[in-house]
Protein backbone atom coordinates (compact mmCIF):
# COMPACT_ATOMS: atom_id res chain seq x y z
CA UNK A 1 0.00 0.00 0.00
CA UNK A 2 1.15 3.51 -0.79
CA UNK A 3 1.61 4.84 2.71
CA UNK A 4 4.41 6.47 4.62
CA UNK A 5 5.68 5.18 7.94
CA UNK A 6 8.04 7.35 9.90
CA UNK A 7 10.15 5.96 12.73
CA UNK A 8 8.34 5.52 16.05
CA UNK A 9 10.30 8.38 17.57
CA UNK A 10 8.48 10.75 15.23
CA UNK A 11 5.04 9.55 16.19
CA UNK A 12 3.24 11.69 18.73
CA UNK A 13 1.48 10.75 21.86
CA UNK A 14 -2.20 11.33 22.47
CA UNK A 15 -1.25 14.08 24.87
CA UNK A 16 0.22 16.03 21.94
CA UNK A 17 -2.92 15.69 19.93
CA UNK A 18 -4.81 18.84 19.15
CA UNK A 19 -8.50 18.97 18.48
CA UNK A 20 -9.41 18.77 14.83
CA UNK A 21 -10.76 21.86 13.11
CA UNK A 22 -14.54 21.86 13.02
CA UNK A 23 -17.11 23.89 11.08
CA UNK A 24 -19.75 25.92 12.90
CA UNK A 25 -23.28 24.54 12.36
CA UNK A 26 -24.62 25.84 9.05
CA UNK A 27 -27.97 26.79 10.57
CA UNK A 28 -26.63 28.95 13.41
CA UNK A 29 -25.83 32.23 11.65
CA UNK A 30 -28.97 32.10 9.42
CA UNK A 31 -31.09 31.46 12.53
CA UNK A 32 -29.58 34.50 14.22
CA UNK A 33 -30.30 36.53 11.08
CA UNK A 34 -33.88 35.25 11.08
CA UNK A 35 -34.44 36.16 14.75
CA UNK A 36 -32.87 39.60 14.41
CA UNK A 37 -34.67 40.29 11.13
CA UNK A 38 -38.04 39.23 12.52
CA UNK A 39 -37.49 41.31 15.66
CA UNK A 40 -36.62 44.33 13.52
CA UNK A 41 -39.81 43.87 11.46
CA UNK A 42 -41.90 43.51 14.63
CA UNK A 43 -40.42 46.40 16.57
CA UNK A 44 -39.89 48.80 13.68
CA UNK A 45 -43.15 48.51 11.73
CA UNK A 46 -42.70 52.02 10.32
CA UNK A 47 -39.39 51.03 8.78
CA UNK A 48 -40.39 47.90 6.90
CA UNK A 49 -39.51 49.58 3.59
CA UNK A 50 -35.98 50.23 4.75
CA UNK A 51 -35.72 46.74 6.27
CA UNK A 52 -36.89 45.15 3.00
CA UNK A 53 -34.20 47.10 1.15
CA UNK A 54 -31.62 45.93 3.70
CA UNK A 55 -32.64 42.26 3.32
CA UNK A 56 -32.50 42.45 -0.49
CA UNK A 57 -29.17 44.25 -0.67
CA UNK A 58 -27.76 41.92 2.02
CA UNK A 59 -28.56 39.03 -0.33
CA UNK A 60 -26.73 40.81 -3.14
CA UNK A 61 -23.72 41.46 -0.89
CA UNK A 62 -23.82 37.81 0.20
CA UNK A 63 -23.63 36.86 -3.46
CA UNK A 64 -20.69 39.21 -3.89
CA UNK A 65 -18.97 37.63 -0.89
CA UNK A 66 -19.11 34.25 -2.61
CA UNK A 67 -17.20 35.76 -5.52
CA UNK A 68 -14.85 38.16 -3.73
CA UNK A 69 -14.42 36.71 -0.25
CA UNK A 70 -14.69 32.98 -0.95
CA UNK A 71 -13.38 32.62 -4.50
CA UNK A 72 -11.02 35.61 -4.33
CA UNK A 73 -12.22 37.21 -7.56
CA UNK A 74 -12.38 41.00 -7.36
CA UNK A 75 -15.35 42.25 -9.37
CA UNK A 76 -16.96 45.61 -10.02
CA UNK A 77 -19.76 44.34 -12.22
CA UNK A 78 -21.90 42.36 -9.83
CA UNK A 79 -24.94 44.59 -10.39
CA UNK A 80 -25.28 42.99 -13.84
CA UNK A 81 -26.62 39.76 -12.34
CA UNK A 82 -28.83 41.69 -9.92
CA UNK A 83 -30.30 43.84 -12.68
CA UNK A 84 -30.85 40.94 -15.04
CA UNK A 85 -32.64 39.02 -12.27
CA UNK A 86 -34.77 42.09 -11.55
CA UNK A 87 -35.71 42.66 -15.19
CA UNK A 88 -36.38 38.95 -15.74
CA UNK A 89 -38.71 38.77 -12.73
CA UNK A 90 -40.42 42.04 -13.67
CA UNK A 91 -40.93 41.10 -17.32
CA UNK A 92 -42.16 37.66 -16.24
CA UNK A 93 -44.68 39.21 -13.85
CA UNK A 94 -45.86 41.66 -16.52
CA UNK A 95 -46.16 39.28 -19.46
CA UNK A 96 -46.45 35.74 -18.10
CA UNK A 97 -47.69 35.39 -14.54
CA UNK A 98 -47.43 37.39 -11.30
CA UNK A 99 -46.67 34.51 -8.90
CA UNK A 100 -43.79 35.71 -6.69
CA UNK A 101 -42.09 32.35 -6.17
CA UNK A 102 -42.13 31.44 -9.85
CA UNK A 103 -40.87 34.96 -10.56
CA UNK A 104 -38.13 34.45 -8.00
CA UNK A 105 -37.09 31.25 -9.78
CA UNK A 106 -37.02 33.16 -13.07
CA UNK A 107 -34.77 35.80 -11.50
CA UNK A 108 -32.49 33.09 -10.15
CA UNK A 109 -32.32 31.45 -13.58
CA UNK A 110 -31.55 34.77 -15.29
CA UNK A 111 -28.76 35.61 -12.82
CA UNK A 112 -27.30 32.12 -13.17
CA UNK A 113 -27.46 32.27 -16.94
CA UNK A 114 -25.69 35.63 -17.18
CA UNK A 115 -23.04 34.60 -14.64
CA UNK A 116 -22.57 31.25 -16.37
CA UNK A 117 -22.19 32.76 -19.83
CA UNK A 118 -20.04 35.73 -18.82
CA UNK A 119 -18.06 33.65 -16.31
CA UNK A 120 -17.12 31.14 -19.01
CA UNK A 121 -15.23 33.98 -20.68
CA UNK A 122 -14.21 36.16 -17.70
CA UNK A 123 -12.70 33.40 -15.61
CA UNK A 124 -10.00 32.79 -18.19
CA UNK A 125 -8.46 35.97 -16.81
CA UNK A 126 -7.22 37.05 -13.40
CA UNK A 127 -6.50 40.19 -11.40
CA UNK A 128 -7.04 43.58 -13.02
CA UNK A 129 -7.97 42.06 -16.38
CA UNK A 130 -10.80 40.14 -14.71
CA UNK A 131 -11.86 43.22 -12.76
CA UNK A 132 -12.02 45.43 -15.84
CA UNK A 133 -13.86 42.79 -17.84
CA UNK A 134 -16.54 42.50 -15.15
CA UNK A 135 -17.09 46.26 -15.46
CA UNK A 136 -17.27 45.86 -19.24
CA UNK A 137 -19.86 43.06 -19.02
CA UNK A 138 -22.03 45.13 -16.66
CA UNK A 139 -21.81 48.14 -18.98
CA UNK A 140 -22.78 46.00 -21.99
CA UNK A 141 -25.80 44.63 -20.11
CA UNK A 142 -26.76 48.17 -19.03
CA UNK A 143 -26.49 49.35 -22.60
CA UNK A 144 -28.62 46.45 -23.86
CA UNK A 145 -31.27 47.16 -21.21
CA UNK A 146 -31.28 50.80 -22.29
CA UNK A 147 -31.72 49.86 -25.97
CA UNK A 148 -34.44 47.27 -25.34
CA UNK A 149 -37.01 49.90 -24.36
CA UNK A 150 -39.94 47.76 -25.44
CA UNK A 151 -39.06 45.19 -22.84
CA UNK A 152 -37.33 47.14 -20.11
CA UNK A 153 -38.96 50.57 -20.35
CA UNK A 154 -35.53 52.15 -20.90
CA UNK A 155 -34.97 55.30 -18.84
CA UNK A 156 -38.56 55.20 -17.58
CA UNK A 157 -38.02 51.83 -15.97
CA UNK A 158 -40.15 48.71 -16.01
CA UNK A 159 -43.41 48.99 -14.11
CA UNK A 160 -47.11 48.29 -14.40
CA UNK A 161 -47.16 44.83 -12.91
CA UNK A 162 -48.78 43.76 -9.66
CA UNK A 163 -47.49 40.75 -7.81
CA UNK A 164 -49.89 37.93 -7.03
CA UNK A 165 -50.39 36.51 -3.55
CA UNK A 166 -47.52 34.66 -1.91
CA UNK A 167 -48.19 30.87 -1.86
CA UNK A 168 -51.46 31.79 -3.59
CA UNK A 169 -52.80 33.06 -0.23
CA UNK A 170 -51.03 36.08 1.21
CA UNK A 171 -51.54 39.36 -0.63
CA UNK A 172 -48.75 41.95 -0.62
CA UNK A 173 -50.02 44.76 1.61
CA UNK A 174 -49.54 48.47 0.96
CA UNK A 175 -47.45 48.91 4.12
CA UNK A 176 -44.94 46.38 2.82
CA UNK A 177 -45.00 44.05 5.83
CA UNK A 178 -45.39 40.89 3.79
CA UNK A 179 -42.71 42.11 1.40
CA UNK A 180 -40.32 42.50 4.34
CA UNK A 181 -40.99 39.01 5.69
CA UNK A 182 -40.81 37.54 2.19
CA UNK A 183 -37.43 39.21 1.56
CA UNK A 184 -36.18 38.12 4.99
CA UNK A 185 -37.29 34.53 4.39
CA UNK A 186 -35.54 34.36 1.03
CA UNK A 187 -32.41 35.97 2.49
CA UNK A 188 -32.28 33.45 5.35
CA UNK A 189 -32.75 30.48 3.00
CA UNK A 190 -29.99 31.70 0.67
CA UNK A 191 -27.77 32.48 3.65
CA UNK A 192 -28.20 28.89 4.84
CA UNK A 193 -27.42 27.60 1.34
CA UNK A 194 -24.30 29.78 1.25
CA UNK A 195 -23.14 28.45 4.61
CA UNK A 196 -23.64 24.86 3.44
CA UNK A 197 -21.78 25.60 0.22
CA UNK A 198 -18.80 27.21 1.88
CA UNK A 199 -18.38 24.35 4.34
CA UNK A 200 -18.74 21.65 1.68
CA UNK A 201 -15.81 19.99 -0.12
CA UNK A 202 -16.67 22.24 -3.07
CA UNK A 203 -16.47 25.36 -0.89
CA UNK A 204 -13.22 24.16 0.64
CA UNK A 205 -11.74 23.69 -2.83
CA UNK A 206 -12.85 27.17 -3.92
CA UNK A 207 -11.40 28.68 -0.75
CA UNK A 208 -8.23 26.74 -1.47
CA UNK A 209 -8.09 28.28 -4.95
CA UNK A 210 -8.47 31.71 -3.35
CA UNK A 211 -5.57 30.95 -1.01
CA UNK A 212 -3.26 29.33 -3.55
CA UNK A 213 -4.27 28.55 -7.11
CA UNK A 214 -1.01 26.76 -7.97
CA UNK A 215 -1.34 24.43 -4.98
CA UNK A 216 -4.89 23.48 -5.86
CA UNK A 217 -3.95 22.79 -9.45
CA UNK A 218 -1.14 20.56 -8.18
CA UNK A 219 -3.67 18.65 -6.07
CA UNK A 220 -5.68 17.96 -9.20
CA UNK A 221 -8.43 20.53 -8.69
CA UNK A 222 -10.09 21.63 -11.93
CA UNK A 223 -9.57 25.27 -10.99
CA UNK A 224 -11.48 26.90 -13.84
CA UNK A 225 -14.47 24.56 -13.44
CA UNK A 226 -14.73 25.17 -9.68
CA UNK A 227 -14.48 28.95 -10.06
CA UNK A 228 -17.02 28.91 -12.86
CA UNK A 229 -19.45 26.92 -10.72
CA UNK A 230 -19.06 29.35 -7.82
CA UNK A 231 -19.49 32.33 -10.13
CA UNK A 232 -22.70 30.85 -11.56
CA UNK A 233 -24.01 30.11 -8.05
CA UNK A 234 -23.25 33.69 -7.00
CA UNK A 235 -25.16 34.78 -10.11
CA UNK A 236 -28.16 32.80 -8.84
CA UNK A 237 -27.97 34.62 -5.50
CA UNK A 238 -27.69 38.03 -7.19
CA UNK A 239 -30.54 37.13 -9.54
CA UNK A 240 -32.69 36.22 -6.53
CA UNK A 241 -31.90 39.58 -4.93
CA UNK A 242 -32.82 41.34 -8.16
CA UNK A 243 -36.10 39.43 -8.41
CA UNK A 244 -36.94 40.35 -4.81
CA UNK A 245 -36.23 43.99 -5.57
CA UNK A 246 -38.48 43.91 -8.66
CA UNK A 247 -41.28 42.16 -6.79
CA UNK A 248 -41.26 44.25 -3.62
CA UNK A 249 -40.92 47.67 -5.29
CA UNK A 250 -42.95 46.85 -8.44
CA UNK A 251 -40.49 48.80 -10.52
CA UNK A 252 -37.11 48.04 -12.14
CA UNK A 253 -34.86 50.90 -13.20
CA UNK A 254 -31.59 51.05 -15.08
CA UNK A 255 -29.90 51.92 -11.78
CA UNK A 256 -30.26 48.24 -10.87
CA UNK A 257 -27.51 47.56 -13.44
CA UNK A 258 -25.36 50.57 -12.59
CA UNK A 259 -21.68 50.72 -11.82
CA UNK A 260 -22.45 52.68 -8.65
CA UNK A 261 -24.53 49.77 -7.29
CA UNK A 262 -21.64 47.36 -8.01
CA UNK A 263 -19.24 49.68 -6.21
CA UNK A 264 -21.62 50.29 -3.29
CA UNK A 265 -22.11 46.58 -2.58
CA UNK A 266 -18.34 46.12 -2.62
CA UNK A 267 -18.04 48.91 -0.05
CA UNK A 268 -20.72 47.19 2.06
CA UNK A 269 -18.83 43.91 1.88
CA UNK A 270 -15.60 45.53 2.99
CA UNK A 271 -17.43 47.33 5.80
CA UNK A 272 -18.88 44.06 7.10
CA UNK A 273 -15.83 41.89 6.55
CA UNK A 274 -14.86 39.91 3.46
CA UNK A 275 -15.13 36.12 3.28
CA UNK A 276 -17.20 35.44 6.39
CA UNK A 277 -20.69 35.56 4.80
CA UNK A 278 -22.20 37.09 7.93
CA UNK A 279 -20.08 40.15 7.15
CA UNK A 280 -22.19 40.66 4.04
CA UNK A 281 -25.32 41.01 6.17
CA UNK A 282 -23.61 43.25 8.69
CA UNK A 283 -22.07 45.45 5.99
CA UNK A 284 -25.34 45.90 4.11
CA UNK A 285 -27.17 46.76 7.35
CA UNK A 286 -24.55 49.26 8.54
CA UNK A 287 -24.24 50.93 5.14
CA UNK A 288 -27.96 51.28 4.50
CA UNK A 289 -28.71 52.45 8.03
CA UNK A 290 -25.94 55.01 7.71
CA UNK A 291 -27.25 56.02 4.33
CA UNK A 292 -30.74 56.38 5.73
CA UNK A 293 -29.69 58.35 8.80
CA UNK A 294 -26.82 60.44 7.47
CA UNK A 295 -28.58 61.34 4.21
CA UNK A 296 -31.62 62.56 6.12
CA UNK A 297 -29.33 64.83 8.16
CA UNK A 298 -27.31 65.99 5.17
CA UNK A 299 -28.44 64.70 1.78
CA UNK A 300 -25.35 66.06 -0.01
CA UNK A 301 -22.48 64.97 2.19
CA UNK A 302 -23.63 61.68 3.71
CA UNK A 303 -20.99 59.79 1.72
CA UNK A 304 -18.39 61.60 3.83
CA UNK A 305 -19.49 59.46 6.80
CA UNK A 306 -19.34 56.26 4.74
CA UNK A 307 -15.90 57.21 3.42
CA UNK A 308 -14.61 57.84 6.93
CA UNK A 309 -16.02 54.58 8.21
CA UNK A 310 -14.53 52.70 5.29
CA UNK A 311 -11.09 54.15 6.02
CA UNK A 312 -11.46 53.15 9.65
CA UNK A 313 -12.47 49.59 8.80
CA UNK A 314 -9.69 49.16 6.26
CA UNK A 315 -6.98 50.62 8.49
CA UNK A 316 -8.22 49.08 11.74
CA UNK A 317 -10.23 45.93 10.94
CA UNK A 318 -12.81 45.43 13.73
CA UNK A 319 -12.37 41.61 13.74
CA UNK A 320 -8.65 41.96 14.37
CA UNK A 321 -9.14 44.36 17.24
CA UNK A 322 -11.99 42.32 18.67
CA UNK A 323 -9.68 39.29 18.72
CA UNK A 324 -6.96 41.34 20.41
CA UNK A 325 -9.49 42.44 23.00
CA UNK A 326 -10.47 38.82 23.68
CA UNK A 327 -6.81 37.90 24.07
CA UNK A 328 -6.30 40.89 26.35
CA UNK A 329 -9.12 39.89 28.67
CA UNK A 330 -8.01 36.26 28.59
CA UNK A 331 -11.01 34.79 26.73
CA UNK A 332 -8.94 33.75 23.72
CA UNK A 333 -5.32 32.75 23.13
Amino acid sequence: MNTVTLPKAKQQSDADMQKSPKCAPAWRAPLIALVLGTAACLFLPDQVGLLTRIFIIALLVLSLDLVVGVAGLATLGHAAMFGVGAYAAGIFALHVMPDPLVGLAVGVAAGTLLAGLSGAFLLRYQGFTFLMLTVAVAQIVLSLAHKARDWTGGDDGLSGYIMGPLFGKFEFDLEGKLAAYYALGVLVIFFYIARRLVDSPFGLAVRGIHENRARMAALGTPVYKRLWSMYAIAGAFAGAAGALSAQTTAVVGLDSLSFSLSAEVLVMLILGGVGRLSGALIGATVFLLLHHTASSINPYHWLFVVGGLLMLVVLAPPAKYFKRLLVHVGISK
Binding site: V4, Q11, K19, S200, A205, E211, M216, A218, T221, P222
Partner: protein, 246 residues
Protein backbone atom coordinates in the same frame (compact mmCIF):
# COMPACT_ATOMS: atom_id res chain seq x y z
CA UNK B 1 10.34 -3.39 -14.81
CA UNK B 2 7.45 -1.40 -16.34
CA UNK B 3 7.99 2.32 -16.77
CA UNK B 4 5.78 4.63 -14.73
CA UNK B 5 7.09 7.86 -16.21
CA UNK B 6 8.79 8.37 -19.53
CA UNK B 7 9.93 11.60 -21.15
CA UNK B 8 10.62 11.55 -24.85
CA UNK B 9 12.71 14.42 -26.23
CA UNK B 10 11.03 17.13 -24.17
CA UNK B 11 11.75 20.68 -25.31
CA UNK B 12 10.81 24.08 -23.92
CA UNK B 13 11.72 27.60 -25.00
CA UNK B 14 10.87 30.88 -23.30
CA UNK B 15 11.29 33.42 -26.07
CA UNK B 16 14.86 33.08 -27.27
CA UNK B 17 15.97 30.97 -24.31
CA UNK B 18 16.06 27.25 -24.91
CA UNK B 19 15.40 25.99 -21.38
CA UNK B 20 15.06 22.24 -21.86
CA UNK B 21 16.68 20.54 -24.84
CA UNK B 22 15.43 17.16 -25.94
CA UNK B 23 15.34 15.69 -22.45
CA UNK B 24 14.46 12.00 -22.25
CA UNK B 25 14.30 9.80 -19.18
CA UNK B 26 12.56 6.74 -17.82
CA UNK B 27 11.37 6.11 -14.30
CA UNK B 28 10.17 2.75 -13.02
CA UNK B 29 8.43 1.75 -9.79
CA UNK B 30 10.84 1.98 -6.86
CA UNK B 31 13.31 4.23 -8.72
CA UNK B 32 14.93 7.08 -6.82
CA UNK B 33 16.16 9.36 -9.57
CA UNK B 34 17.91 12.58 -8.62
CA UNK B 35 17.94 15.41 -11.11
CA UNK B 36 20.90 17.67 -10.45
CA UNK B 37 22.57 20.56 -12.19
CA UNK B 38 23.57 24.16 -11.65
CA UNK B 39 20.97 26.90 -11.17
CA UNK B 40 19.25 27.68 -14.46
CA UNK B 41 19.90 24.18 -15.84
CA UNK B 42 16.15 23.72 -16.44
CA UNK B 43 15.34 21.33 -13.58
CA UNK B 44 12.22 23.08 -12.28
CA UNK B 45 11.08 23.84 -15.82
CA UNK B 46 11.27 20.12 -16.54
CA UNK B 47 9.17 19.33 -13.45
CA UNK B 48 6.64 21.93 -14.60
CA UNK B 49 6.54 20.31 -18.03
CA UNK B 50 6.04 16.87 -16.52
CA UNK B 51 3.30 18.03 -14.16
CA UNK B 52 1.56 20.06 -16.89
CA UNK B 53 1.97 23.55 -15.43
CA UNK B 54 2.89 24.64 -18.93
CA UNK B 55 2.97 22.75 -22.21
CA UNK B 56 6.11 21.50 -23.89
CA UNK B 57 7.07 22.86 -27.29
CA UNK B 58 7.81 19.33 -28.49
CA UNK B 59 8.31 15.86 -27.12
CA UNK B 60 6.02 13.60 -25.12
CA UNK B 61 5.26 12.75 -21.50
CA UNK B 62 4.06 9.20 -20.81
CA UNK B 63 2.57 8.37 -17.46
CA UNK B 64 1.74 4.78 -16.56
CA UNK B 65 1.68 3.79 -20.22
CA UNK B 66 -0.51 6.70 -21.31
CA UNK B 67 0.54 9.69 -23.36
CA UNK B 68 -0.41 12.62 -21.08
CA UNK B 69 1.37 15.34 -23.09
CA UNK B 70 -1.88 17.11 -23.89
CA UNK B 71 -3.64 16.42 -20.59
CA UNK B 72 -4.23 19.10 -17.96
CA UNK B 73 -2.46 19.23 -14.64
CA UNK B 74 -5.58 17.87 -12.90
CA UNK B 75 -5.82 14.92 -15.30
CA UNK B 76 -2.17 14.04 -14.71
CA UNK B 77 -2.72 14.10 -10.96
CA UNK B 78 -5.65 11.72 -11.40
CA UNK B 79 -3.32 9.49 -13.38
CA UNK B 80 -1.01 9.10 -10.39
CA UNK B 81 1.36 12.07 -10.51
CA UNK B 82 2.07 14.28 -7.50
CA UNK B 83 4.60 17.02 -6.91
CA UNK B 84 6.00 19.36 -4.32
CA UNK B 85 7.27 22.86 -4.95
CA UNK B 86 10.69 24.43 -4.61
CA UNK B 87 9.12 27.37 -2.79
CA UNK B 88 6.49 26.28 -0.27
CA UNK B 89 3.12 26.51 -2.00
CA UNK B 90 0.32 26.02 0.52
CA UNK B 91 -2.93 27.65 1.62
CA UNK B 92 -1.45 29.82 4.40
CA UNK B 93 -4.63 30.53 6.35
CA UNK B 94 -5.96 26.97 6.31
CA UNK B 95 -5.65 24.80 9.39
CA UNK B 96 -3.08 22.10 8.71
CA UNK B 97 -5.64 19.30 8.78
CA UNK B 98 -7.93 21.16 6.37
CA UNK B 99 -5.00 21.42 4.02
CA UNK B 100 -4.63 17.64 4.00
CA UNK B 101 -8.39 17.19 3.63
CA UNK B 102 -8.23 19.30 0.48
CA UNK B 103 -5.97 16.69 -1.08
CA UNK B 104 -8.09 13.80 0.15
CA UNK B 105 -11.31 15.28 -1.26
CA UNK B 106 -9.56 15.73 -4.60
CA UNK B 107 -8.23 12.20 -4.58
CA UNK B 108 -11.70 10.83 -3.89
CA UNK B 109 -13.25 13.09 -6.58
CA UNK B 110 -15.38 14.79 -3.93
CA UNK B 111 -14.39 18.41 -4.47
CA UNK B 112 -17.52 18.94 -6.56
CA UNK B 113 -19.74 17.92 -3.64
CA UNK B 114 -21.85 21.01 -2.89
CA UNK B 115 -24.02 20.11 0.06
CA UNK B 116 -22.37 17.73 2.52
CA UNK B 117 -20.33 19.31 5.26
CA UNK B 118 -16.59 18.70 5.20
CA UNK B 119 -16.99 17.37 8.73
CA UNK B 120 -19.29 14.57 7.55
CA UNK B 121 -16.53 12.43 6.04
CA UNK B 122 -15.19 10.61 9.13
CA UNK B 123 -13.04 8.16 7.15
CA UNK B 124 -11.23 10.94 5.32
CA UNK B 125 -10.88 12.93 8.54
CA UNK B 126 -9.28 9.94 10.20
CA UNK B 127 -6.98 9.45 7.23
CA UNK B 128 -5.94 13.10 7.39
CA UNK B 129 -5.18 12.72 11.09
CA UNK B 130 -3.18 9.54 10.42
CA UNK B 131 -1.12 11.33 7.79
CA UNK B 132 -0.47 14.21 10.19
CA UNK B 133 0.59 11.74 12.85
CA UNK B 134 2.88 10.00 10.38
CA UNK B 135 4.59 13.26 9.48
CA UNK B 136 4.74 14.37 13.13
CA UNK B 137 2.27 17.20 12.60
CA UNK B 138 -0.76 15.91 14.53
CA UNK B 139 -0.30 18.46 17.28
CA UNK B 140 -0.72 21.20 14.67
CA UNK B 141 -4.03 19.92 13.22
CA UNK B 142 -5.90 23.15 13.96
CA UNK B 143 -2.97 25.51 13.59
CA UNK B 144 -3.02 27.88 10.62
CA UNK B 145 -0.37 26.70 8.19
CA UNK B 146 1.36 30.07 8.12
CA UNK B 147 2.10 29.78 11.86
CA UNK B 148 4.25 26.66 11.40
CA UNK B 149 8.03 26.63 11.10
CA UNK B 150 9.36 26.48 7.56
CA UNK B 151 10.62 22.92 7.93
CA UNK B 152 7.17 21.80 9.09
CA UNK B 153 5.59 23.52 6.09
CA UNK B 154 7.94 21.51 3.87
CA UNK B 155 6.62 18.39 5.60
CA UNK B 156 3.06 19.47 4.80
CA UNK B 157 4.08 19.70 1.15
CA UNK B 158 5.16 16.07 1.28
CA UNK B 159 2.11 15.01 3.28
CA UNK B 160 -0.13 16.64 0.66
CA UNK B 161 1.61 14.78 -2.11
CA UNK B 162 1.32 11.48 -0.24
CA UNK B 163 -2.35 12.10 0.51
CA UNK B 164 -2.93 11.78 -3.23
CA UNK B 165 -1.49 8.22 -3.13
CA UNK B 166 0.64 8.86 -6.19
CA UNK B 167 2.57 6.37 -8.30
CA UNK B 168 5.10 8.99 -9.36
CA UNK B 169 6.32 11.73 -7.02
CA UNK B 170 8.25 14.80 -8.15
CA UNK B 171 10.11 16.46 -5.28
CA UNK B 172 11.42 19.90 -6.16
CA UNK B 173 14.20 20.73 -3.69
CA UNK B 174 12.44 19.45 -0.55
CA UNK B 175 15.36 20.55 1.63
CA UNK B 176 15.61 24.08 0.21
CA UNK B 177 15.65 26.63 3.00
CA UNK B 178 15.11 24.06 5.75
CA UNK B 179 17.12 24.76 8.91
CA UNK B 180 19.52 21.98 9.97
CA UNK B 181 17.43 21.04 12.96
CA UNK B 182 14.33 20.34 10.87
CA UNK B 183 16.25 18.53 8.14
CA UNK B 184 16.29 15.21 10.02
CA UNK B 185 12.49 14.99 9.99
CA UNK B 186 12.42 15.61 6.26
CA UNK B 187 15.12 13.03 5.66
CA UNK B 188 13.16 10.51 7.70
CA UNK B 189 10.07 11.31 5.63
CA UNK B 190 12.05 10.79 2.42
CA UNK B 191 13.42 7.47 3.66
CA UNK B 192 9.97 6.33 4.68
CA UNK B 193 8.37 6.86 1.26
CA UNK B 194 6.78 3.65 -0.07
CA UNK B 195 9.28 1.43 -1.86
CA UNK B 196 7.09 0.98 -4.93
CA UNK B 197 6.79 4.73 -5.47
CA UNK B 198 8.81 6.21 -8.35
CA UNK B 199 10.56 9.35 -7.08
CA UNK B 200 12.19 12.10 -9.08
CA UNK B 201 14.14 14.36 -6.75
CA UNK B 202 15.63 17.74 -7.53
CA UNK B 203 18.16 18.70 -4.89
CA UNK B 204 21.29 20.77 -4.43
CA UNK B 205 22.37 18.97 -1.26
CA UNK B 206 24.86 16.54 -2.78
CA UNK B 207 25.24 14.51 0.42
CA UNK B 208 21.52 13.78 0.32
CA UNK B 209 21.52 13.11 -3.42
CA UNK B 210 24.38 10.59 -3.28
CA UNK B 211 22.95 8.91 -0.20
CA UNK B 212 19.36 8.74 -1.43
CA UNK B 213 19.37 8.31 -5.19
CA UNK B 214 19.73 5.02 -7.01
CA UNK B 215 20.25 6.93 -10.25
CA UNK B 216 21.33 10.46 -11.04
CA UNK B 217 20.63 12.52 -14.12
CA UNK B 218 22.68 15.66 -14.62
CA UNK B 219 21.21 18.58 -16.53
CA UNK B 220 23.37 21.35 -17.87
CA UNK B 221 22.02 24.27 -19.90
CA UNK B 222 18.79 22.35 -20.46
CA UNK B 223 20.36 19.19 -21.88
CA UNK B 224 21.21 15.86 -20.28
CA UNK B 225 24.91 15.87 -19.49
CA UNK B 226 25.07 12.48 -17.81
CA UNK B 227 22.84 9.69 -16.58
CA UNK B 228 24.03 6.87 -14.32
CA UNK B 229 24.43 5.43 -10.87
CA UNK B 230 25.80 7.67 -8.12
CA UNK B 231 29.26 6.10 -8.52
CA UNK B 232 29.27 6.62 -12.25
CA UNK B 233 28.21 10.24 -11.85
CA UNK B 234 30.81 10.86 -9.14
CA UNK B 235 33.56 9.64 -11.48
CA UNK B 236 32.27 11.32 -14.63
CA UNK B 237 34.85 13.96 -15.65
CA UNK B 238 32.26 16.02 -17.53
CA UNK B 239 30.04 16.25 -14.46
CA UNK B 240 32.98 17.08 -12.21
CA UNK B 241 34.01 19.85 -14.57
CA UNK B 242 30.52 21.27 -15.06
CA UNK B 243 28.96 20.89 -11.63
CA UNK B 244 30.52 18.80 -8.86
CA UNK B 245 34.07 20.11 -8.99
CA UNK B 246 37.03 18.16 -7.74
Amino acid sequence: MSQLLELRSLDKRFGGIHVTKSVSLKLAAGDRLALIGPNGAGKTTLVNQISGVFPSDSGEVWLRGENVTRLTQAQRVRNGLARTFQITTLAPHFAVQRQIELALFEREHLSGSLWRSIDSFPALKAEAQDLLTTFGLRSHASTPTQDLAYGEQRLIEMALAMALKPKVLLLDEPMAGVPKGDGARLLAALDALPRDLAVLLIEHDMDLVFRYATRILVLSEGAVLADGTPDEIRRDPLVRAAYLGN
